[in-house]
Symmetry: C2
Subunit: 307 residues, 2 copies
């Protein structure tokens, strides 16, 4: 799978992913009111509005980006109708040729982790049928439970040509509480990174592994070290834009081949029309504002990382 | 919420929780075939079968147990119809007066963690309506992202009188890969435990906190230390039965007040009819076998921990 993502990154010449993390406050009023009229003040109304919002953003950006990353929490918050919107978003992004990274941060043990892996990037056998439940291409995985939790995902990566990004160093302010603790002089995130390399060796796909890592844009010094520690690992970089990371922080996340990292922006793109830089688009032009913000992000990264 | 769980534990005189973690191989053939006939080989058939299976186990055990713990991965594996079965299980357990612990192991940052918390133990405001999406009472939470990931759950615990169990030391063989790493002579799970106490102080409910901890039955020595380190923290103990833990390993997880721990068994109860000890019940008596296994588990814990 990582080779498919790389192919898309090369075609679009853009190592970026748009985080489809809808929140009610991002949805233009006319759009949400339409669904309230149709479905009442209900979970269904929000689910329908989220999907329409995503669909328009996908329509206006799919030709310039390689991938989208829906954050399932935003959908799960609205119960089953929310999750239906998540699934419709995955399917619609596929229709448009995008790689879909499900930001699910699952992680459990043994058969339980296997269930998550099968549900999101695999297929279930039911009687004589083989059915694909959620059908993402790549998912994020939490490593706290160790190899028992991650290996079932790696097995599915190999079986179904899929990928994962394992949380190594997250972008949030308190990520250091446990991740930065030193053990024998080495922070936990480096110990996790070493395991990512080990898990990744079991699922190579060309020059890179199907087992990637999440390293936040907000910690560029650590990103530099982790880049060297995991040379064949693709790094998913959250934290660009709204969380404070910018193009100049990102150079070290890439390898000399110009590959090895894909940078996510969520609200910076999907809620661009609410930002003063793009406010001229107005709420009815929200999807065009998203395209403009995506173009600016691609340019920022190109100028700062590949000039 | 923890006071409600404790009340139920006292009424039933049973510090146990039944893990409703259905797998296709646990479902009696006549039950699954009925749904294949009704819905074909489909996700819907499995969802319906899971719910009927759970319902019968709840019906045959609800008067002797305080709580159930559905593991959402088992349902998520079957896509949206699976998650519908999860939600129906939560609602049915509530009808029968049980406390519902959603084993979801979610954990993310900021507004994303808040979304998970709202979706599972809180409520969303949609226009003029306040809607409860999943409606569990307590959920499990992964701490790898630090306080940013956990505090949104603690806020919802306070706002809606709910609870969480934070993963501290999990029951699986490889849990030590990161959790046991020593930092300044202290294992990571102890550092997490100290944070659990801190988070827990912000949500006390009587003698115990709404912020509990997960500590596996398979590591009784660590359980003993963690019990002392977190005196006001309820401990959810997985790993009893099929994973190798037994009543004699559990004494140290309880406080001197006879409280402080609740022990989970999943397949040991729900698939009891497949175990030779209960095979006389046959597959048509699977729910009665579950009751017998639950009674034996309660007795085992009473004899070994409170004799």
């Amino acid at each position: 799978m990582i080779s498919k993502l790389i192919e898309q990154i090369k075609i679009k010449n853009a190592p970026v992913v748009v985080g489809l993390d809808p929140q009610l406050k991002f949805i233009p009023d006319e759009l949400i009111q339409k669904w309230y009229k149709e479905c009442g003040y209900s979970l269904e109304a929000v689910g329908e509005a989220f999907f329409e919002f995503n669909k328009k953003i996908i329509d206006s950006t799919y030709d310039i980006i390689p991938a989208v990353k829906p954050q399932i929490a935003m959908y799960e918050q609205y119960g089953i109708p929310g999750i239906i919107a998540f699934k419709k978003t995955v399917d619609y992004a596929h229709e448009k040729g995008l790689v879909v990274i499900g930001d699910i941060k699952r992680g459990d043990i043994g058969s339980t982790s296997e269930s998550y892996a099968i549900g999101h990037i695999g297929s279930v056998e039911i009687g004589e049928e083989k059915i694909v439940p959620f059908d993402e291409d790549i998912v994020t995985v939490n490593p706290y439970l160790g190899s028992d939790g991650v290996n079932p995902f790696v097995d599915i990566c190999n079986k179904e040509d899929k990928g994962i990004f394992v949380l190594v160093k997250t972008s949030n302010p308190s990520s250091g509480e446990f991740q930065d603790k030193l053990s024998d002089g080495k922070p936990i995130y480096e110990i996790v990174a070493e395991k990512v390399v080990e898990w990744g060796n079991a699922s190579m796909d060309g020059d890179y592994s199907n087992v990637g890592a999440v390293v936040g844009a907000t910690y560029p010094e650590m990103g530099k070290i982790l880049r060297k520690l995991m040379p064949k690992t693709y790094i998913l970089v959250p934290g660009y834009g709204a969380q404070g990371g910018s193009g100049k922080d990102l150079k070290e996340y890439f390898n000399e081949d110009g590959l090895g990292a894909i940078v996510n922006s969520s609200r910076g793109i999907i809620a661009a029309y609410k930002n003063e830089n793009y406010s001229s688009f107005g709420s009815s032009g929200f999807a065009d504002a998203s395209r403009a913000a995506a173009e600016d992000m691609i340019k920022d990264i190109a100028e700062n990382c590949f000039a």
